[in-house]
C-alpha cells in the first residue's frame, strides 16, 4: 500500500463509493417525491391533498440532507480526474470532458435552481408551481445520472473517437458518445437500482413507524408507495436492464465475464457458480455449488453454448483483482435476489390488505434497509473492477493514467484527510436523518 498507483486507485474508489451512497437515494427519491406531489395535485379531496403534500414535504427534507452531502462529495470526483489521473485526463479529456461539462451546464444548474424552490418555495409557488419544481428536480437529477453514465460507459466501451498523431484521443462523433449502447443499458440498470433503493428506504421508514406505533396514516402511505414502485422496479432491474447489461459484458468484455462468474476453464454447457471461493493460483473454485448449463443459457440463450473461461485469455488481460470482482458480482446478484423476494412478498401481502398488520413482514422490510445500498455498491465495484486492468477498455491501462508527479506521500495525506472528513460527514448525516425521523412528517 505504498505505491502512488494503489493510493490513487484507493482514493478514487473510497470517495466515489461514499459519494454514491447519497445520489443513489436522491435520484430514486426524486421520482417518489414526484409521485407524491402528482397524487396531491390530482386529487380533489382536500384532506387527501394535505396528507400527500405533508408526506412529500417530509421526504423533501430527507432529500435535502442527502442532496447536500451528494453535492459536496461530488465536486471532488470531477476534480480528481485532474489531480490524481492527469495522464488520463490529458489523453482522454477531449472526449470525457464533454459529458462532464454537459452535466454541469444542463443538469447541475437545473437541479440547484429548483432544489431551493422545492425546499423553501411551497407557499410562494402554489400547488402547480411546487409540483413543477419537483418535476424539474427529477429531470435534472436523472439527466445528471445519464451524463455520468456516458462518461463511465465510454471508459468501458469507447466509441466515437480517433487517436490523433500525438497520442491524444479525440472525439469524432458526439452522437456515438451520447448514444453508446453500453451507456443506455447501464443507465437503465443503474437508475432502476436507484429507484429500488429509494423504494426500500421509504417503505422501511413506513414499517418503522408502524412498528413503533407512530404516524400511522403516513406510515401506510410510505409503505404503499414504496412497495408499489419497488416491486415494479425490482422486476425491471433484472429483466431487461440487468440481463442486457450482462450481455454487453459478454460481448465486449469476455474475460471480465469469466472472472465475474469464477469460470476458470472454457466449457460447453457451462454451469453457473452460486457459491465458491476462487483460487487463481490453482485455477479452480473451492467449495463450489453450481447449477449446470445455466451460465451458457444466460449468456448465449443456448444450453450447450461454449463460454470461454479465464484459461482462454493471457494473464495480462485478466482483471487484476479477480476474487474481489467475483465476490462483488455475487453479492450484487445474491442480494438482488433477496430484494426481489422481499418486494414480491410485500406486494402480495399489500394487495391482500394484510401487510400493515403483519409485524413479521414489517420487520423484514425494516431490516432490508442497508441491502439495496450494498447491492448497488457491489454492482459498481463489479463494473469498475471488471474494467481492469484497463482505464479505457482496450486503449489505456490503469497504471498509465496517474499523475506523473504526485507522490505517494501527498496521495496518502489526502486519502487520510478524505477518510477523516467523510467519517465526520457520515456521523452528521445519520444524526440529522435520525432527528428528522424523530420529528416525523406531522410536525413539519
Amino acid at each position: 500500500m505504498s505505491s502512488a498507483l494503489a493510493i490513487d486507485r484507493l482514493q478514487f474508489a473510497f470517495t466515489i463509493t461514499f459519494h454514491y451512497l447519497f445520489p443513489q437515494l436522491t435520484m430514486g427519491l426524486a421520482l417518489l417525491i414526484l409521485v407524491l406531489k402528482t397524487i396531491a395535485l390530482r386529487t380533489t379531496d382536500e384532506q387527501r391533498r394535505g396528507h400527500y403534500n405533508l408526506a412529500a414535504r417530509f421526504w423533501i427534507k430527507i432529500f435535502a440532507i442527502n442532496f447536500a452531502i451528494g453535492v459536496v462529495t461530488g465536486i471532488p470526483m470531477e476534480f480528481q480526474f485532474g489531480t490524481n489521473w492527469a495522464q488520463f485526463s490529458r489523453i482522454a479529456g477531449g472526449v470525457i470532458g464533454q459529458p462532464l461539462a454537459l452535466e454541469g451546464v444542463y443538469s447541475f444548474f437545473l437541479e440547484s435552481t429548483f432544489v431551493g424552490l422545492l425546499i423553501y418555495g411551497e407557499k410562494r409557488l402554489g400547488p402547480r408551481g411546487h409540483w413543477f419544481a419537483s418535476l424539474a428536480l427529477f429531470a435534472g437529477a436523472w439527466l445528471s445520472g445519464y451524463f455520468i453514465i456516458v462518461t463511465d460507459a465510454w471508459m468501458q466501451h469507447p466509441v466515437g473517437y480517433r487517436i490523433a498523431p500525438k497520442g491524444m484521443i479525440e472525439l469524432t462523433s458526439i452522437g456515438d458518445l451520447l448514444l453508446n449502447p453500453w451507456a443506455i443499458w447501464q443507465y437503465l440498470h443503474n437508475m432502476i437500482a436507484s429507484v429500488v433503493t429509494a423504494s426500500f428506504v421509504v417503505a422501511a421508514l413506513g414499517a418503522f413507524y408502524l412498528l413503533s406505533g407512530r404516524h400511522e396514516s403516513y406510515a401506510r402511505t410510505f409503505i404503499r408507495v414504496g412497495v408499489t414502485t419497488g416491486s415494479i422496479a425490482v422486476m425491471l432491474l433484472i429483466f431487461p436492464a440487468g440481463d442486457q447489461q450482462g450481455r454487453m459484458v459478454t460481448e465486449n468484455q469476455p474475460v471480465t465475464l469469466a472472472a465475474m462468474e469464477g469460470l476458470f476453464q472454457t466449457a460447453q454447457g457451462a454451469s453457473i457458480a452460486l457459491v465458491g471461493q476462487p483460487d487463481t493460483d490453482r485455477m479452480q473454485l473451492d467449495n463450489p455449488i453450481t447449477v449446470p448449463y445455466v451460465l451458457s443459457f444466460l449468456t448465449f440463450r443456448r444450453w450447450s453454448a461454449e463460454v470461454r473461461g479465464l484459461d482462454a485469455f493471457p494473464k495480462d488481460a485478466w482483471p487484476d483483482s479477480i476474487p474481489l470482482l467475483y465476490y462483488s458480482y455475487h453479492i450484487m446478484v445474491g442480494l438482488g435476489t433477496i430484494l426481489v423476494a422481499v418486494m414480491a412478498l410485500s406486494a402480495w401481502l399489500l394487495a391482500r390488505g394484510r401487510l400493515y398488520a403483519n409485524r413479521a413482514a414489517l420487520w423484514l422490510l425494516l431490516f432490508m434497509t442497508p441491502f439495496p445500498y450494498i447491492a448497488t455498491t457491489a454492482g459498481w465495484m463489479t463494473a469498475e473492477l471488471g474494467r481492469q486492468p484497463w482505464l479505457i477498455y482496450g486503449l489505456m491501462r490503469t497504471a498509465a493514467g496517474i499523475s506523473p508527479h504526485v507522490s505517494s506521500g501527498n496521495g496518502l495525506f489526502t486519502l487520510l484527510g478524505f477518510m477523516g472528513l467523510y467519517m465526520v460527514l457520515g456521523i452528521l448525516f445519520l444524526f440529522l436523518v435520525w432527528h428528522e425521523i424523530e420529528q416525523g412528517p406531522e410536525t413539519t
Binding site: I65, A68, I69, V71, V72, T73, I75, P76, E78, F79, F81, G82, T83, N84, A86, Q87, S89, R90, I91, A92, G93, G94, V95, I96, G97, Q98, L100, A101, L102, E103, G104, V105, Y106, F108, F109, L110, S112, T113, V115, G116, L117, Y120, R124, A164, M168, E170, L171, T172, S403, P404, H405, V406, S407, N410, T414, L421, L425, L432, H435, E436
Partner: protein, 342 residues
C-alpha cells in the same frame, strides 16, 4: 476556435468569481455584521437559495476547461495537487455548514457551523487569489508538460518558489479583501438595518484595503510577469479591462447612499470582472506560463482539444448557457427586495 474557448473559459471563471464571490464574502463577514441569531439567519437567507447554483459555475467551468483544454486541466490540477484538495475540503466544510446550521436550534450547534462557514469562506478566498497569482507568475513546467509545486518552499518568488511566495500571498490577501467588500455590499443590498448599516460601514472601510491591494498587485504583476507588459504594449485596446476595474472601484466609492446600494454592488461586480479579464487579457495566448522558459508554456494552441470537439462543444454550450442565464435571472428576480428578520 481556441481563442473562442479561451474567452468562454474566462466567462465561466468570471461568472464564478462574481456570483460565488458575494456568497463567499457574505460568509467571511456574517459574524461581524450580524449579531443576533435572527440577524445571522437573515444574512444566510440572502445567500441560502443561491450559493449552490453559484458553486455550479465552478463545476461547469471546470468541465468546460476539461474538455476544451485537457492538457491544461491535467497539468494544473495535478501540479497544484495539495491546495486543490484543500480547496475541495473547504468547499465541503462550507457547504455542510450552511446546509446543516438550521436543522437544529441550539446554542451549541449553530456557532460551530457559523464559524466553520466563516473560516472556510475566508480561506477559500485566499486560496483562489493565490491560485490566480500562481497562474500569472508561472510554474516550473517540464518538457513533458507537467510540474509539481509544494505549498511553500522559497517565499522570494524565484523559480524555486512553491505555491505560496510573497507575490501569491499578496494576491491571496487582495482576493480576500475584494470578496469581503463584494460580500458586504451584497449584504447591505439584501438586509435591513442594523445589519445593512454595519455592512455598509464595513464596506467603506474595506474599500481602502481593496484600493491599496489593487495598486500593489498591479505593480507586482507587471514586475513579475514580463509577458503582461509585452501584451498590453502590443494591443493597447486591452487597457479597457483595467479601466473597467478602476471604474468599478470608483463606483463602489461614490455609491455610498442607501438608495444606490444596487449600483454599488454592480460596481463591485464590474471591478471583479475587470480584474479577471485584465489578467486573462494580459496572459493571452498563454494559459499557464512556464517559469522554466517560454517554450515550455502551455498556450491555447498546444493545450487545446481536437477541433471537432471544440466545434460541437460550441453547439451545445451556447444554448445551454442561455438556459442558465434564464434560471439565474429568474432566481435573482425572486430574491430582489430586502429580507425581513424572521
Amino acid at each position: 476556435m481556441e481563442t473562442v474557448w479561451f474567452c468562454l473559459v474566462v466567462v465561466m471563471i468570471t461568472g464564478y468569481v462574481v456570483l460565488d464571490g458575494f456568497d463567499l464574502g457574505a460568509g467571511i463577514v456574517h459574524l461581524f455584521v450580524a449579531r443576533s441569531d435572527e440577524e445571522k439567519r437573515a444574512v444566510l437567507a440572502s445567500i441560502g437559495p443561491v450559493w449552490d447554483a453559484n458553486e455550479v459555475w465552478l463545476v461547469a467551468g471546470g468541465g468546460t476547461l476539461y474538455f476544451a483544454f485537457p492538457t491544461l486541466y491535467a497539468a494544473s490540477f495535478s501540479g497544484f495537487y495539495l491546495p486543490l484538495i484543500i480547496v475541495l475540503w473547504l468547499l465541503i466544510v462550507r457547504g455542510i455548514s450552511i446546509e446543516f446550521r438550521n436543522h437544529i436550534a441550539s446554542p451549541v450547534w449553530t456557532p460551530v457551523w457559523d464559524s466553520g462557514f466563516a473560516f472556510a469562506s475566508l480561506l477559500l478566498a485566499v486560496f483562489y487569489g493565490a491560485a490566480l497569482g500562481n497562474v500569472v507568475r508561472g510554474v516550473p513546467l517540464d518538457s513533458s508538460g507537467y510540474f509539481f509545486l509544494p505549498l511553500w518552499a522559497d517565499f522570494r518568488a524565484t523559480s524555486a518558489a512553491g505555491i505560496l511566495d510573497w507575490y501569491t500571498i499578496l494576491t491571496g490577501v487582495a482576493a480576500s479583501l475584494a470578496l469581503t467588500m463584494h460580500g458586504t455590499l451584497w449584504v447591505a443590498l439584501q438586509c435591513l438595518d442594523p445589519v445593512r448599516e454595519r455592512a455598509a460601514l464595513l464596506a467603506r472601510r474595506v474599500w481602502w484595503g481593496v484600493a491599496a491591494a489593487t495598486v500593489a498587485i498591479t505593480a507586482a504583476s507587471f514586475a513579475i510577469q514580463p509577458h503582461l507588459t509585452q501584451r498590453f504594449g502590443q494591443a493597447p485596446w486591452g487597457f479597457v479591462f483595467p479601466a473597467i476595474a478602476a471604474l468599478g472601484l470608483m463606483g463602489v466609492f461614490f455609491c455610498k447612499a442607501p438608495q444606490t446600494e444596487l449600483l454599488a454592488f454592480l460596481s463591485s461586480c464590474g471591478y471583479l470582472l475587470g480584474m479577471i479579464t485584465s489578467a486573462a487579457f494580459g496572459l493571452y495566448p498563454l494559459l499557464l506560463p512556464a517559469s522554466t522558459g517560454p517554450a515550455l508554456s502551455l498556450t491555447i494552441d498546444n493545450a487545446a482539444a481536437g477541433i471537432y470537439g471544440l466545434h460541437i462543444g460550441l453547439a451545445w454550450w451556447i444554448p445551454g448557457m442561455f438556459l442558465v442565464a434564464a434560471y439565474t435571472i429568474f432566481t435573482y428576480r425572486r430574491l430582489s427586495g430586502k429580507l425581513p428578520l424572521e
